[in-house]
């Protein structure tokens, strides 16, 4: 009895980590863009194109790391589009983000049909070409750590490293300080000779790269192909996690673990024969997202200039 509780607990932690991972990457992307003052609700679309690029490259190239980086590049290109619209042309950032989302699924489907004989699903990547599982077989069978870590893909650890890296970048380096200053008060940054436009470009492109990684963490690790429903709202959940995490990498991490955990729980509960329909259970992550956003989030933590386009020669 103790034994099963123990291993069930480990199992839930394991699935939590696994399902949180794509959210963590994407959420970090949101942290970067919004701390520089650009709202990015295009994360979903960037994640989709990343998932597609990852699965496709994984299938054709056969190296998961090249595929992973390719996914980042694909996401980064979408980030560039968003940056051109929002930073150079001062477009409404929400509208541009929505367009990016449509463009994400649209282009992914189009290319999928082109490369995979008209199929909307990419072909499965053979197990050997998926992301490696670095700690597979390291811990004795059935041990607590074994249950948690045995099946975790490399993307999980890379995500945690990125949390540290981005935290360090934002709070301990001069470029991080400048990026945050641009998100808080771009005019002030401008008067100190900081290039607001360049920093916002960098942040939004990197945000796309991270969302691309997030998509690939789905299609190269958790599953092994791309299909149109693979990313269904994960980008938005990651966005919500960023908000719940008060626009900070460490906060976003915790929020992603919460949302990922509810997703993991949904999967875990799905294996039992409950009298509850599985559709209801799989709604769990979304319901938790809404409840959390309604209940706990104030606007106060957002960077002061988040969402406001910056133009030169405006009134000082």
């Amino acid at each position: 009895m103790m034994e099963t509780i123990f291993s069930n607990f480990a199992l839930i932690i394991g699935t939590t980590l696994m399902y949180s991972t794509p959210l963590i990457y994407t959420s970090l992307g949101g942290v970067l863009a919004e701390n520089s003052g650009v709202i990015n609700i295009g994360l979903e679309g960037m994640m989709i194109i990343g998932a597609f690029a990852g699965a496709t490259l994984g299938y054709f190239v056969g190296n998961p790391w090249i595929a992973f980086i390719g996914a980042g590049v694909a996401g980064g290109i979408y980030g560039l589009l968003h940056a051109v619209a929002c930073v150079s042309f001062g477009a409404n950032q929400v509208v541009s983000g929505i367009a990016i989302n449509f463009l994400g699924i649209g282009v992914a489907l189009f290319l999928s049909r082109m490369f995979f004989e008209g199929a909307t699903m990419t072909k499965s990547i053979p197990l050997d070409f998926k992301m490696p599982r670095p700690l597979n077989g390291v811990f004795p069978d059935g041990s607590f750590l074994n249950i948690i870590l045995d099946n975790q893909y490399a993307t999980v650890y890379v995500a945690l490293i990125f949390v540290l890296l981005i935290w360090f970048f934002l709070y301990k380096t001069k470029y991080g300080l400048r990026l945050r200053s641009v998100g808080e008060h771009p005019t002030a940054a401008d008067t100190l000779g900081i290039n607001v436009i360049r920093i916002r470009y960098f942040a939004v492109i990197m945000s796309g790269v991270m969302a691309g990684f997030g998509g690939a963490a789905m299609s190269l690790a958790i599953v092994s192909n791309f299909r149109p429903t693979l990313i269904s709202g994960h980008g938005f959940i990651a966005l919500a996690a960023m908000i719940f995490g008060k626009w900070k990498p460490q906060g976003a991490l915790l929020a992603c673990l919460l949302f990922g955990g509810s997703q993991g729980l949904a999967v875990f509960l799905g294996q039992f024969n409950f009298e509850i329909s599985s559709q209801l259970i799989s709604m769990l992550p979304y319901v938790i997202t809404i409840v959390v956003l309604i209940g706990f989030v104030g606007k106060s933590a957002a960077p002061a200039a988040d969402g406001i386009p910056y133009e030169k020669e405006h009134k000082y």
Partner: protein, 513 residues
């Protein structure tokens, strides 16, 4: 000795020659010339919207001039961005502070020129040490670890000055630095300016307060509506001379007002208790009344419950206990809408936040309180023709500039924004007009106008309640003066018999009844 002779013996550090700046068709600077000399304070005087900030933003590289040239130490330079200005030793403290609120003092000062160790990693230890060093050197004490959002406005200004000095500024532009300071802090600032010039720094001081220019500046450039009017030696002129050059006509500092017997009491406050945002009692059993045909001035230092009192009267804040009456009717805890309908008008403390909707145009702002009434609306549909006609009338009557009812109020100068508010409030024909800090940040011409409007209300047998931190203003305009201290009225005197020392003492809590 005129300006030309004086200037000959001095070292020019900056020459701005024939600077013209156009925003679209609008000429903000029209062939302006400015010379700045080493170790001297050069004032820039002009009404709101005259183009002072524009000229300085050009010097600092934020705007590029439409024509004209700039010489620094005799060499022509193209200042296309602030980095170039900083390299040439120019520093600027903007009218609206350019500080990142959630950052610390030290972070704000080093931003853009951060001391780093390997891999661009911030070296905050060195940053704090550097900040301490310059702050001690110039006697500008700050706490490097405090967050900007937690420190006072005058501290924030020090941080701004330190920011410029940290970048090695030799020429320091101060854009209306005193607008946000208390009288005591202004004295301190003038001392700081003197210390800086002793160190050989040159200062450009923008202000429309004549007293300060006389107290602090050596020379003064006067611009009016973008045009270069004159450069004078400050010691050879006086307040009147400066004022008439600035406004282009004689200015009356003390608007004359005839004696007038006040009528019946029309507005009264009894035992009022109001709490502030933190839940602490801010207005503490306060009693007051205003009569028809009088101006009651409320003197007091900022933060003694004035804001809460004002918000309670206008329905913006809950009254804990006590009662507020107008024309015998109880309006305690009524909604702002109800209170407006009881003929109370309000010129709010913060004109940009509470007085106007900056993204609406002048005509829309003019009808904010009666948009739902005929002729502005018919069956719930706005009648823009009528609204525009009405706005045009008020714009002419109250001399709002520019004379375009479709101009967004956010683009107007402070004085003209205030005129829009006054036009709206006074035209409502209120029984009680409440004016809170009505001249804050305005130049002498606009101040004269505001005071005239208040006195006119009074002469029309209306009640006026003036709340101001400027003792001069309260003494000049009011008929009776009440002094507030820690949420209580600590004394009421007739303005004619009031002595500044007596009021000052009461404001500091040392007065008797």
């Amino acid at each position: 000795m005129g300006y030309k002779d004086k200037a000959k013996s001095l070292t020019k550090v900056i020459e701005m020659k024939n600077i013209t700046k156009k925003f679209g068709n609008f000429v903000a600077n029209d062939s302006v010339n400015l010379d700045v000399f080493k170790g001297k304070v050069h004032a820039l005087l002009g009404e709101n919207g005259a183009g002072k900030s524009t000229l300085m933003n050009i010097l600092y590289g934020l705007y590029s001039p439409t024509s004209g040239e700039i010489l620094i130490n005799g060499k022509k330079v193209d200042i296309t961005n602030p980095n170039i200005a900083i390299e040439h030793g120019i520093g600027m403290v903007h009218q609206h502070f350019m500080l990142i609120k959630p950052f610390t003092v030290a972070q704000n000062i080093i931003l853009g020129r951060e001391p780093t160790s390997k891999f661009s990693v911030l070296n905050m230890k060195k940053a704090i040490k550097d900040v301490k060093e310059i702050s001690e050197r110039y006697g500008l004490y700050v706490d490097p670890n405090a967050k900007i959002e937690d420190i006072s406005v005058s501290m924030q200004q020090r941080v701004e000055i330190l920011k410029a000095l940290y970048r090695g500024a030799e020429i320091l532009i101060l854009d209306e630095p005193t607008a946000v300071l208390t009288p005591q802090e202004i004295v301190e600032l003038i001392q700081i300016i003197k210390n800086l010039t002793k160190e050989g720094k040159s200062i450009i001081l923008i202000s429309h307060k004549l007293k300060e220019i006389i107290a602090a500046a050596d020379f003064c450039l006067i611009i009016r509506r973008g045009k270069h009017i004159d450069t004078v030696v400050v010691s050879e002129t006086d307040e009147k001379g400066l004022a008439s050059k600035m406004v282009g006509r004689e200015v009356i500092f003390n608007v004359p007002k005839e004696d007038k017997k006040a009528g019946d009491e029309i507005f009264s406050i009894k035992d009022l208790v109001v709490k502030d945002n933190r839940g602490i009692v801010a207005v503490d059993n306060l009693n007051l009344s205003v009569k028809k045909g009088e101006i009651l001035g409320l003197a007091g230092i900022d933060g003694n419950g004035q804001t809460e009192l004002l918000e309670a009267i206008t329905g913006l804040r809950k009254v804990e206990s006590g009662e507020i009456k107008i024309n015998g009717e109880d309006i305690t805890n009524n909604t702002p809408f109800q209170i407006i309908n009881k003929k109370i008008s309000h010129i709010p403390e913060d004109r940009q936040k509470r007085g106007l909707i900056l993204d609406f145009d002048i005509s829309e702002n003019m009808i904010l309180e009666n948009y739902h009434n005929y002729p502005f609306a018919k069956r719930g549909v706005l009648q823009y023709n009528n609204i525009k006609k009405y706005a045009k009338e008020l714009i002419n009557k109250f001399d709002v500039r520019p004379r375009e009812e479709s101009k967004l109020t956010g683009t107007l100068s402070g004085g003209n924004q205030q005129k829009v508010i006054i036009a709206r409030e006074v035209t409502n024909d209120p029984d009680l007009l409440i004016a809170a800090q009505p001249t804050r940040g305005l130049d002498v011409g606009a101040i004269e106008f505001v005071h005239q409007s208040l006195i006119e209300q009074r002469n029309n047998d209306k009640a006026v309640f003036l709340i101001s931190f400027e003792l001069d203003e309260v003494m000049n305009v009011s008929d009776r003066i009440a002094v507030i201290y820690e949420g209580k009225i600590v004394g009421i005197v007739n303005a004619k018999e009031a002595k500044i020392e007596e009021l000052g003492l009461m404001m500091a809590g040392g007065g008797s009844k």
